[in-house]
């Protein structure tokens, strides 16, 4: 009799083990997987604070005498301050332009049925999918003709216009979730489209705008091809183009310099990531792409 509850408990814990075992195994697998993603980043950070002479101790040796010397060298050698400033400028203004251009079209596509709406969507999708390389030459020519080649403003305009299609889809997706009843009151009082847009839709769209702006910011921060082709002077380079120098004999010899450069180039976006992660990874922008 006294054995019964005990064996019952044992039985139960056995069951729990049976259900937990696969989950533990899967978690182990997941940790390994996470290591594949975290490992390279962690290694880069560790390498970046190693002094030159510890380089030969192997990639996994922890630094004995950690130093910020590599950061100092890369910062002055590549003019990292200027690079970061340029990237920041392109990302902030380019995304602002993209969002500004996209707001009214998004409002239009979420609230109205203009004739040929399907074709407008087809056009948008095309703008999204167009491989950048196919328009490089004409855009290069066009910017030269406008005397905007190798200027900051030229690159900002290109970023703004090419960010517009995805912004329209993201903002439209968000605006369609705003219930129509909210604007009905305004309509009944005789508000025009413009008034409805400014007084009702725009204030309610701010969370969507934040998401769209953040995604565009990241996209421009990462962007490489346009900046590489449309800019010539180092003074205008964003981080992505300026960083290419790290892949040269002068910098790559001991790994700590390029690693420090890598970390520097990711710090702003990592900060943004910490703040915006919940918003952008929640998947609320996904629905908007589904159309």
């Amino acid at each position: 009799m006294s054995e019964h509850p005990a064996s019952g408990r044992r039985y139960r814990s056995l069951i729990r083990l049976r259900t937990a075992a696969p989950r533990l195994f899967a978690t182990l697998l997941a940790f390994l997987l996470a290591a594949v993603w975290i490992g390279p980043l962690a290694l880069t950070v560790i390498t970046s604070i190693k002094p030159n002479k510890e380089f030969l101790n192997g990639p996994f040796a922890l630094p004995h005498a950690p130093t910020l010397e590599p950061y100092r060298n890369v910062w002055s050698g590549l003019h990292f301050g200027d690079l970061l400033q340029n990237s920041l400028l392109y990302a902030t203004t380019g995304s602002a332009l993209a969002v500004a251009l996209a707001l009214v079209p998004a409002f239009t596509l979420s609230r109205f049925e203009p004739p040929g709406k399907r074709y407008i969507f087809a056009l948008l999708l095309m703008g999204l999918m167009l491989p950048q390389q196919t328009v490089l030459i004409p855009l290069y020519d066009m910017l030269r003709w406008l005397h905007l080649l190798d200027t900051r403003i030229g690159l900002i305009i290109v970023h703004g216009v090419y960010g517009m299609p995805s912004q329209i889809l993201i903002l439209r997706g968000f605006m369609t979730t705003i219930p129509r009843e909210i604007e009905k009151a305004a309509r009944i009082e005789g508000a025009t489209d413009f008034q409805v847009f400014v007084k009702v839709i725009l204030p309610l769209s701010i969370p969507g705008i934040v998401v769209g702006y953040t995604l565009n910011f990241i996209a421009i921060w990462k962007e490489f091809v346009f900046a590489l082709v449309f800019l010539n002077s180092e003074a205008n380079f964003p981080v992505t183009v300026g960083m290419l120098k790290l892949n040269s004999d002068r910098y790559i010899s001991a790994f700590n310099l390029p690693s420090a450069g890598l970390v520097l180039s990711q710090i702003p976006i990592a900060i943004l990531f910490i703040f915006a992660y919940r918003r952008i990874s929640g998947g609320n922008f996904v629905g908007s792409v589904k159309g």
Binding site: R23, T108, P115, M129, P138, E223, L244, I269, S281, G283
Partner: protein, 307 residues
């Protein structure tokens, strides 16, 4: 008073008269911008593909379809085209499948600490591919790299290869590095998509005794068709756009064996000053993307993009 739903069958003019602000700023101006910055460049690329031009000379020489016939005989073009396909296959296999599996594992609560995994895998999506490329150049370095060191330590030294030097392997190395940086995106899309699938659907399948494999294949994937359509499209164009990693890691070496079409356009135009031929390859990329896109939109994923 015009409500949005009432004017579905208006003519263009009537719509414009009723909704002047919307027509002007919501339709005409964006279309004009599209025409200037996307439509015109495409047209100009097609036009330029019929010429020989060094990018500087005031005159372009009309050569008809000569660039096209040259392209069809150009070995580098085929190498690049095949490389694009290899890249696509790796991308569809590694990041997309893995992204789906991880998303499923997290939604089905198969793993503990799902947020850790999700954050770790999503972070590289925010990294520039220049940074990713540089990082893996160090990690895959044949002498001092961490990857080979790990392989040797695990007794797998026989697997060590010249990851960038061996022309048979280099393009796959690049594609896998690209996949590493890309996995977070399909994962997030599937994660969001699975969140929209009604819980009852899974519960019903579980009661019928479906295991995880059956649940994934029979329940999750059919429900996620629209998400898959978007993911496949994204992957497709991501692999057609593959450029940054190649520019950073190999520059097409060894012997142009890691060129992809996008990089070939850049090389021919801005390094070899053959803008006409560069435009011709651009047209090929464009045709390829249109062909694949219409195939996907029209057949495989009918209804997925309905608006």
């Amino acid at each position: 008073m015009a409500t949005a739903r009432g004017d579905k069958n208006l003519s263009l003019l009537a719509f414009a008269r009723q909704h002047l602000f919307v027509t002007l700023f919501g339709i005409l101006i964006p279309i004009a911008l599209f025409a200037c910055f996307i439509g015109y460049p495409i047209g100009y690329t097609i036009y330029l593909s019929l010429f020989e031009w060094n990018g500087m000379a005031p005159t372009k020489t009309f050569v008809g379809l000569a660039n096209y016939s040259y392209m069809l005989g150009d070995n580098y073009f085929y190498i690049s085209l095949v490389n694009n396909l290899k890249w696509l296959i790796v991308s569809l296999g590694f990041p997309v499948v893995l992204g789906f599996l991880i998303a499923y594992a997290m939604r089905a609560r198969v793993v503990y600490f799902p947020t850790l995994l999700r954050t770790a895998i999503f972070f590289p999506v925010t990294m520039s591919l220049v940074a990713v490329g540089l990082m893996f150049l160090l990690i895959l370095n044949p002498i001092f790299g961490a990857f080979d060191t790990i392989l040797r330590a695990l007794g797998l030294g026989f697997l060590v290869r010249e990851w960038f030097g061996d022309f048979r392997i280099a393009i796959y190395t690049l594609a896998f590095v690209g996949g590493w940086a890309f996995t977070g995106l399909p994962m997030i899309f599937y994660f969001a998509g699975l969140g929209d699938v009604p819980k009852e659907t899974f519960d019903a399948a579980r009661i019928e005794g479906a295991g995880h494999l059956r649940m994934m294949l029979r329940v999750a994937l059919p429900q996620l068709r629209p998400v898959t359509a978007v993911v496949v499209m994204l992957t497709l164009f991501e692999s057609l756009k593959a450029f940054d990693l190649i520019a950073v890691m190999t520059k097409g070496a060894p012997f142009g064996r890691t060129n992809v079409l996008g990089y070939l356009v850049y090389l021919e135009s801005f390094w070899n000053s053959r803008f006409g031929y560069g435009a011709t390859i651009s047209v090929a990329i464009l045709l390829l993307s249109i062909a694949i896109a219409s195939l996907l939109l029209g057949k495989l994923f009918r209804g997925a993009f309905d608006v």
